[in-house]
Structures are given as C-alpha cells and as structure tokens.
Symmetry: C2
Subunit: 449 residues, 2 copies
C-alpha cells in the first residue's frame, strides 16, 4: 500500500504558506470580510472556470494570460476544451449578474474573495495563482455617483484595521485626461493614455519624446505632462487643472465627478484619498473614476488595491448594468508584508492552551479539560503523548502556544496552568479560567527596526 517515494519541488508562481504565515493571511481575510459585511456587501462565489471566449472578450490584455482546462481522461468534445480558469473576479461577476439578474435585487452589492490564475511570467510579488478580494456595486441602467466615493472609503476602513502602515488611495477620473486631451486637440485618447501611463517607469523626458513621436506638438506634450503632475488631497486640483487653460465638456464632467469623490473623502476620512491625475489604470475597461493604492514607503510595490467604474459592466443587449468596484491583491500584499517587512503570526496554531497528559491511562481527564475549555471558546489541544512534562512544554513552545495546563498538579487534585513565557504557574479550573483576550487568537508580530 506504500506509494512510491516521489520528489517534491515547488512550482514557480504557485506559492504556498507555512502555518504561521497562513494564520497571518487569514487575519487579513477575516478583517476585509468583516469590513465588507459591515458595509452590507453580500458574499458571492463564482465557479473557477468560464468559457475561454468570455475570458478573451475583454480585449487582448497580454498580462492576463489564460489557463485552459481539459479532462485528461475524457474524449475531447470540443466544448470542455473551451473552458479556462478566471484571471480576475470582475469578468465572472459580470457574467453572474447577467445569468441571475432576475433573482437579484438592484443595486446589488457583493464581495468576492477567491483565487484567480494568470499564466504570466512569475516574478517577485507576481504570482500565477493568487487571492483577490473584491467589492462591487452594480445597478440597472444607471448607477448613482455616490457609490464611486464609497468604494475607496470601505477599503480605507479595512486597511486601517490591518498592519499595512500608512497607505494612500489615489483617485482619478478617466474623463479628466480624456476631455483634456480632446481639449488640446489630441484625438487618440487611448494611445496618449498608454504613453502617459509609463510616466513613473520611464520619466517625463521619454514620455514627452514618445508623445511627439506619436504626432503631438511639444506644447501638447508639455500640457499632458503638466496634467499628469497634478495631485492634491483637497479640491485644489480643480483650480490647477483650470489654470492650464484647457476647455472641454468631457473635462468638466470628469472634474465634477472627481471633485465629488474627493469631497466625500475629506468629509468622511480626511487624508485617505488623493486626487492624482497621473493614474490611468492601463488598458482596463474603466470609463470614469479609477483607483490605485500605494503603501507609503513601499511605492515600488505598485498598486495593492485598484479598481474603477465601468459604464457597462455587463449587457445582455437590452439591459446595461453599470458598476463600480475595487479589488485588493491580497496574496500579493501579504507576501510583500511577510518577505519585505517580516510580518508573521505569533504562533503556528490556533491553540492557546496545550493540555498536558500525565499518563496515557488518564488521557480522558485531559480530554475532559480540553472539552471544558473549548465549550468556553478557548482553542486548545491535548498533548499527543504522555511524555515528560519538559518535553510537553517544548511541544507547546515550538508552536508558540502560550499556556500549558496540568491536570491534578494543584492541591486536592486540582489543576494548574502555566504561562510558559513568564513561567508563572497558578491553580486553575477549566470551568472558570479566563484566557487573556490577547492570547485567545494568534496575534500579528511586526518586527521593530
């Protein structure tokens, strides 16, 4: 029955966590879920696969290379060979909305936390399999603009509860550059955006050169760079744009919409949102507000949470569903915090207590102690063997379990509990002992530099 010995090697781009790291990731997952639910987003999960045709439908973004799936044992029916793993949670959500529109109540608020897969070349912080945490609001026909302010503020509330340190959510509205470019006579809006989007990577000189190469005048290029250089935490960006002297109705529309989002931010969470007119979100399908999120001091990580508004998240030909959403790159964020900042969990198990076993004949007594502790919400484990107490304590210590419980160690056959960090050992009764609140769940350990 013994299977043959097999070599094991990691698969590039498919990272796995050790238990303490996974406990840290779970803390992130639990926190974002709690905040999403406090804001009335309904949980949703979609299947991992979509027809490849649908996955390819959203423009040929080479960054999102698709994994196709096929039954190895099945005859190729020509149908199953057309399924692929989703590369984000927006495309499946749009399809889900169309499929279930008759059973959903609109505006529909949902959160979705799932794995996604991308066949791109693995590199630092870029994985082929990773978890995203998304919120979206979708409505029928029209979508109220206040949702565009709400999305980043929900994210800010989640991030403030997480050990990510200072962060900044940058907001722009696609209509601002679009109207601005049209106002100065650059009609290839997408092409211009694509060049300006490289600003952080290649610098202003090269951007200007590429714009001129694509047909812009020096003055047009200068104005594009001037626009992209504007950022403000308050509404002053509006005057700065106006000072450039460009007029266009689409620009007015964009500035009004962006001002509304920034105004809500200054009212509800001052210092969280920044109007940043360089944010473009590449070739994505956004049509209005766009978001990116930087961890302050680690801007080189790139955006850890991005999104925006799409006038047409989905359409069945008769009805159009506009939406706005934002997505946390959760695996990536946790991976960066673990590898770059050394974050981890305070222990490698949920257990707060190890109940020692005096000898195998009295294991039932230790099991009863554990049951009493669990009935009061204290996660615990019974020692795997009746080894010497020193060995049982080392078992707890290796896992970071803070307490070891000794049945019958006290007077009159009462129990005792030892805090193995301090060495303090006191009389205790499993029916009444209070585990310190800070020890009940694994905590987050942030190394001090």
């Amino acid at each position: 029955m013994t299977p043959p010995a097999q070599k094991v090697t990691p698969i590039s781009g498919f990272p796995e966590l050790l238990p303490a790291e996974r406990l840290l990731e779970l803390h992130f997952l639990d926190t974002v879920r709690e905040v999403f639910e406090l804001h009335g987003f309904a949980p949703l999960e979609t299947r991992a696969v979509e027809p490849v045709e649908r996955l390819l439908g959203k423009g040929g973004d080479a960054d999102k290379e698709i994994y196709g799936i096929r039954r190895l044992a099945g005859e190729d029916t020509g149908r199953e060979s057309e399924l692929g793993l989703h590369f984000d949670l927006t495309v499946p959500f749009a399809r889900y909305v169309l499929e279930n529109a008759g059973k959903l109540s609109f505006p529909f608020r949902r959160y979705q936390v799932q794995k996604v897969w991308r066949g791109e070349r693995p590199q630092e912080g870029r994985f082929r399999e990773f978890t995203q945490a998304d919120i979206d609001v979708v409505d029928v026909g029209t979508l109220a603009p206040h949702f565009e302010a709400e999305m980043p503020l929900v994210i800010a509330e989640a991030f403030r509860r997480l050990p990510v340190g200072e962060f900044r959510i940058q907001v722009n509205n696609r209509k601002v550059p679009e109207g601005f470019y049209l106002g100065i006579g650059l009609t290839d809006v997408a092409g211009t955006l694509r060049v300006v989007d490289k600003l952080a990577k290649i610098g202003p000189e090269k951007v200007a050169a590429q714009l001129v190469e694509a047909g812009a005048t020096d003055e047009q290029a200068r104005l594009c760079l001037a626009l992209a250089g504007i950022r403000s935490e308050d509404l002053s960006f509006v005057d700065e744009v106006r000072a450039l002297g460009v007029e266009h109705p689409v620009l007015d529309e964009g500035l009004d919409a962006l001002a509304a989002v920034i105004r809500a931010g200054t009212e509800q969470a001052p210092g969280t949102l920044v109007a940043d007119l360089s944010v473009a979100r590449g070739l994505d399908y956004y049509t209005g507000t766009v978001y990116e999120t930087q961890v302050v001091g680690n801007e080189e990580w790139g955006s850890v949470c991005s999104g925006g508004r799409y006038d047409s998240l989905a359409s069945d030909g008769r009805t159009t569903y506009p939406g706005v959403g934002i997505s946390i790159g959760l695996s990536r964020l946790v991976h960066l915090l673990v590898t770059k900042r050394g974050l981890t969990a305070s222990r490698s198990t949920p257990a707060a207590v190890l109940v020692a076993v005096v000898d195998e004949d009295t294991r039932a007594r230790s099991v009863a102690v554990a049951a009493a502790l669990r009935a009061r919400g204290v996660p615990c484990e019974v020692a795997p063997s009746a080894a010497k107490f020193g060995k049982q304590i080392r078992y707890a210590d290796r896992r970071g379990i803070p307490f070891v419980w000794f049945p019958g160690a006290g007077d009159d056959d009462g129990d005792q509990v030892k805090d193995i960090r301090s060495g303090d050992q006191v009389d205790a009764d499993a029916a009444t002992w209070e585990c310190p609140a800070a020890d009940l769940r694994p905590g987050v350990v942030i190394p001090q530099h």
Copy 2:
C-alpha cells in the same frame, strides 16, 4: 467601450449559489472552521495544481478524473502541460508535508477548506467543482492510535452545531474484514472488499453470488455477509464477530483498534459513533480505521463525511509519515440541505439595518449614522437613493433586512428605527442602539413540515 452582448449559460457540474444560499454555506464554513480551530488544527491552503504524475500516483481511480491545465498563449514547454487541478485535499497535503517537513512540528494537525475539481459525469449532488473541509493529523514514523478516535468526534462536534439534524458516523477498521477474510481462507482481500462494498447497492443475494463466482464457497460467502451485517453503538460488536468463530492475528488487531475508537466515542459523545462492519471505503488508500457519515432519514444521500487512517500518507524513501484524516463534502451537504430540505438564510445580505436617506443633500447624515452603527459592530447599508420611504422600506424588505433607520424622524430632530417585520418604530440613537443579537447576522431558516 461596451462589450458585445454575450449569451450566458450555466456549466453543468459547476454550480453557483444565490446570495442567501451563499450566506447559508458561509455559516457552515464558519462553523466547521471554528470547531477545527478550537481543536488546535492549523489552517493550511495548498496550490490548486499538482503535477499530473502525482495526481495519477494514487491508483487509477476512474471516479477522480483529472483536469489538466495549460497556458493558452504559451508555447507548450512540455512541463506546464503536466499540471492538473487537485481532485482532493489529501494528495496535495501529503506533498506539502514532504516539501515542508523540515519546517513543520510533528505531530502536525491541519485543517484545509478548499475547492477541488473532478472531471466525472455530473449528476444530482455530484459536482465537477466543489468545496471540501478536511482535518488530518500526520506524524513521523508512528502515529498514536488516540488520534483515530479524535477525528470523528471533532466532526460530530461540528455537525451538532449545524442544521443537519440527526447524523451517524460509521466506523470500521480495514483490518477487521482483512483478518476475517484471511481467517476463513479468502486471500484476495481487496477483491472481496470490493464485492462486499456493493452490499447497500445490490443486496446480499447478489453479493453472495459474486463472491462465489470469484471462487468463494457458499459458507465463506455466508460468513462475509454475516460480518458485514454487524453494527453496534457499543462494544458488543466484538462478541458478535467472535461468535462467528474466525481466528486471525490481523482480525484481533483490527478489533482492538476499532474497540478503542468506539470506547472513546461512548465516553466522550454517546450515541454518535457506530461500529459498522460493512464500511469499506472502496478502493481508497486507507490501512486501518475508516469513517463514513450518514444523515439520518437521508441515507440515500450517501456519506457526507468520510476518511480514515493511512499508514503511509507520504514517504520520501527514508521517512514515512502515517496519518489519519476525515473530509466533509461541504458543497454537497449544503446543496442537499438547500434542495431537499429547503434550508436557506434569513436574508440575502449581511446588513441588519438600512439607513434611509431623507434627501440627497442630507446623505452625509445617513452615512454618519451608518458609520456609528458599524463602529459598534452592526452591519448596515445606506439607502441607494432618497426615494419615498415606502420604496426604501421595500428595498430593505426584498433583501430581508429587518430594520430601517430614519434620521431626524423623532422629536427634536432625533432618529427613529423601525422593525419592518412588526412595524414597530421607536426613538433611537446610533451611538447606543442595541441590535437584537438574533438579528445581527443572517440566521438559518429551516422549513417546518
């Protein structure tokens, strides 16, 4: 920017839930996780893919047809084409243990709740994508037998907290039939097990006929059926087996081990475990104790939670890792409870309160009320538009949100809150209002017959 209208059709075997159903599934997921963590199992997640060679390694079980994955855009390197989606969580866990053995502390207790994929023919309650919830304990070299009693008792604790009604965990030990068959002179143990395993499906006459066809005498076939007919909630099964007059050292070993599990069950959770000598767990790789779980009154659903002991979960050629584990077929269980028993959640959103908006100019006041409620842990949502109150109340009602909050509806510009089920409307302050505990989270609705 509008994508073309696309037809949407469900994909057979890849079910998706509506929000209220997903809230019910989350209740199950949260409950099993809580119980697993109370018992000190560490959370673990493995990548979705394994080398196909490893997936195929565990015997050619045709029930577990594998989905291969490949990058649609990538040149076929001959390496990526060899990856497949995992069909269970045991094979990846065994690989993870080998890969990380140096970083884990043994015995290692982990739980794992993840999607798995099987390319089998979809049918009622059988999916191609579904969630499993597993616990396992694995050790180095040898594994203490008390873990074999612990596994089903953890599951029983989880099931007692879930709305599954009465259930029964059947336990057997592979060594009992193995030793028994050897004791009566049937040396093809696997072949005999395979035939006896069909008992529930084809009945005793056909089993006897097939055993005889395979070379057994009538008396041997009779004894096999007599053994498979034994079940008891206490230790009386031992005497019943002994009464058949068969002797073999492997039988003795199996009876001792099974008696130890059943004894722990009668001590710690009377009436939960049943020794059932017909349980064989098909062709799986178990070597000792095996488990199956029936929902009483719906035995036709088959086992909703199964597992067992494997003497060699993993091996790297030098070291062997024995383990014992059990796996809840969670999607399947929830699907059956939803479709066969009509279970659902009491609402389709986590929100307990809808904060009404009097007019768009005072939306900020409603947003502030919502923030105050959330700060005290009350999930809520602000009305999407300042529609007539009747329409706002209907918005809440359609989603099952029990309370609607009216800013400024009380005396002196104070607020009021309405329970839309009873129609009661009372003065309330968001800084002090207590949401009834039963309404804070969506509840489970079990139809009465």
